[in-house]
Symmetry: C2
């Protein structure tokens, strides 16, 4: 399909192309534009029907949007902007350089411009930043028939018509009526009688993650957003809530891997930006490994007699680290899904201690057998005369390391959340560094006591 | 709020409770049930209005559903089941023991029972397993007015009325009409003229993750599902797609932390199930650490002369592991978001190599300064006479380990996906184990060459 289309572009068969593109979905058309030669993009865009063109425009990445805006006449720019929903316009402006933004704002009327500037002013992570201002508002005194008339009049420009919002003269939100309610009631019925007054809503300054969570919890298609004075100022639709959920999941995953969250997709992030997102944690964790180094260095004079024990350091560190990150990652995800709160900390600890006990018992048993038969009898890795004692040192350390790792791994994210830190950064890498240090201390202490050195 | 309600239950003030609960949202009522004494749950459930009761029932966890079903009379069970959507009924049955399932099926008519059995037969991860069979179907020849009549007739039992599906006599899907289209057209308009024939749809056996991806890409509220013969058999609604997205993100996160994915939330998973989900990877990774142990053991006789170098093993392993997991986790997420495919592998490699180069240069420089001033001058950790050479060994290893880690980290998930494996298991723990072994080999090789031992 894609190659056919590129061939049509090459052969300048724009009328065939027009028919073909008109039958496709906006995100698929935008993907074709990504692959098309840059010089052909404005002409390809111009053959699209007006409404479809705007929908395709929204799906493009900001580089291509900018390229098109710069190719547009003022009239063309005006037509595209006119078709966009307010939240999409604001998203586009957010990514454009100042000169382009200025040109866009010049093509909007003063009311729209005021609205755009207001939406741009909301903090990045707020409900206000993802809401749109095009919705259906009704009055309590209207009949169902009046409501349908209003939907027919302003529905074409609303992002969703399926939830209608009933407001008073001061724009305070009184209730919600769905189109389903309207259709299933008599035409003469009064809106005030059929509206649902148990409203789920959010405030403009609420965190957008919280807003997305409401969609998941209540299975809603749109959420009204009110300002500090409880006036309805916009709505968030489910498609935008989905984008927020996916962004938040990606951010959590990045933080768990010791990466600062990035705004753009993989290939849209420059090498330097990727470097900037990764280096701080790498640096911090590298320097904090000084502690583990210092612990080993402090034991150095004894190590030269016990080099056999050095061979088990990676296994002990990795198993401890993996045990800890299993616990921390599980707890972090459960916190963001709302399953774990601070009050559950003892319940979590008790569960993790039991899991740790079973994991540790299994691993120590298997490891004991492996050490005795493979490392001892087969590879003669231990120092003669104290084989069993050395195996004991490894086993005791393994057991304690797993237990400590699970305890640290499950409790740090909850504590971090409690003191207002992001639980997601308390994941594998940080836990690993802490667990490494603890495991080494246990290892050398066990060696000192059991081997009497 | 919650405590007030528990007090009302205690004082048996059920009529006040009824008023209070009737004004709340189903998920919030279900949460109150979770905290209520078990013996009061059936009576609390009985005071809810019929429709709300069914909505609350769907939000409960399966233990409580079972408890209620066992307390229900046949009539009560029939009433609840009757109000449920087909997909919810199937989800509930899926979790119940055989005796309860049998009782539920006895309360449904033969047509519903056939439908339930058909839905139960779809594989767990398929589109069929999350679809519902209640939707609005229209005929091409209908007018807009006919369509509204049909919506009024069957709309109350449909999961969504906002997308209507136009089918022929053989139930083949011909087009889609939204209620918005219906409202914005004249009553006499023929459906065949206004329906959209560019249909986004999926097959019953398509992976549900793919289905959820379509919602995200195309911003749709419902997706029609067709069988092998292209007949419309059901629809998936956006709320179910959201649940799938969140489940998939959780599964990816679990796999990245070397945990087998679990079906239930944190506290709903038993200690033994948590143990079973965590032990296989811990065991595998512990045993594979035998390699790192063997590498160190092979160098053992030289280590006794060079114990200073042992102190840097944790730092080198951790930094390599962190660098690798940054790359792997970023690539894994990009693969599941559809940003990276197999054909991009060289582009990914080229990007990661450049990022690795910058990260390695920065870290090696900082580390060099730290080693020279802190470890050497302050702590005298190096062997006299070859301070600079030993620092060089550490620096060369650090540089190579970061480079190798990023290359392995970014390519393994893409290769895994290509050969049909799950890319998410190629995350931190596995990468760490591989990178550990490689770093140690580089370390000892560098030591041998630079220190001539």
């Amino acid at each position: 399909m894609d190659e056919n289309i590129l061939k049509l572009i090459e052969e300048r068969k724009f009328s065939v192309l027009k028919t073909l593109l008109s039958e496709m979905q906006p995100p698929d058309i935008a993907a074709i534009f990504e692959d098309a030669p840059e010089k052909d993009i404005p002409i390809m865009f111009r053959i699209l029907p007006k409404e479809l063109a705007a929908e395709v425009f929204v799906e493009m990445d900001s580089d291509m949007q900018q390229l098109l805006i710069e190719a547009f006449s003022d009239k063309e720019l005006h037509d595209v902007i006119d078709e966009l929903f307010m939240d999409d316009t604001v998203d586009i402006i957010d990514e454009m350089p100042a000169t382009v933004t200025k040109r866009i704002l010049q093509q909007t009327d003063s009311k729209t411009r005021r609205m755009i500037n207001q939406l741009l002013a909301y903090p990045d992570d707020s409900a206000g930043s993802i809401m749109t201002t095009e919705y259906i508002d009704l009055k309590k005194s209207m009949t169902v028939e009046d409501a349908f008339d209003r939907i027919r009049k302003i529905g074409i420009d609303s992002e969703t018509i399926y939830s209608c919002y009933v407001t008073d003269a001061g724009r305070h939100l009184l209730g919600i009526v769905s189109v389903k309610d309207l259709l299933l009631n008599a035409k003469s019925e009064i809106i005030g009688n059929i509206m649902d007054e148990n409203i789920i809503f959010a405030n403009t300054l609420d965190d957008k993650e919280l807003v997305a969570g409401l969609f998941e919890k209540y299975d809603i298609l749109a959420l009204p957003i009110v300002d500090k004075e409880s006036r309805l100022v916009g709505i968030v639709t489910v498609d935008d809530a989905i984008d927020v959920m996916q962004e938040e999941a990606t951010e959590d995953i990045e933080k768990m891997a010791a990466i600062l969250p990035s705004e753009h997709s993989y290939f849209k992030t420059s090498v330097f930006d990727t470097y900037k997102a990764r280096i701080p944690w790498l640096m911090l964790l590298m320097i904090s490994a000084t502690f583990t180094g210092a612990i080993i260095a402090g034991f150095e004079d004894k190590l030269s007699e016990l080099v056999a024990l050095v061979a088990f350091i990676p296994m002990l560190m990795d198993t401890g680290g993996n045990s800890g990150s299993q616990a921390s990652v599980t707890v972090i995800r459960a916190i963001s899904m709302g399953d774990i709160e601070f009050k559950d900390i003892l319940r979590v600890l008790w569960k993790e201690i039991r899991v740790a006990f079973f994991c540790a018992t299994t691993l120590v048993s298997v490891n004991f057998i492996k050490l005795f038969f493979v490392d001892n009898l087969l590879m003669h890795n231990f120092d003669k005369g104290q084989v069993i004692l050395e195996i004991c040192v490894v086993s005791v350390t393994l057991f304690c390391a797993i237990l400590v790792a699970k305890i640290i791994g499950c409790s740090l994210p909850i504590l971090a959340k409690k003191i207002g830190f992001d639980p997601a950064v308390m994941a594998s890498p940080l836990i690993t560094t802490i667990v490494d240090a603890v495991s080494l201390i246990i290892y050398f202490t066990a060696a000192r006591i059991i081997l009497r050195i």
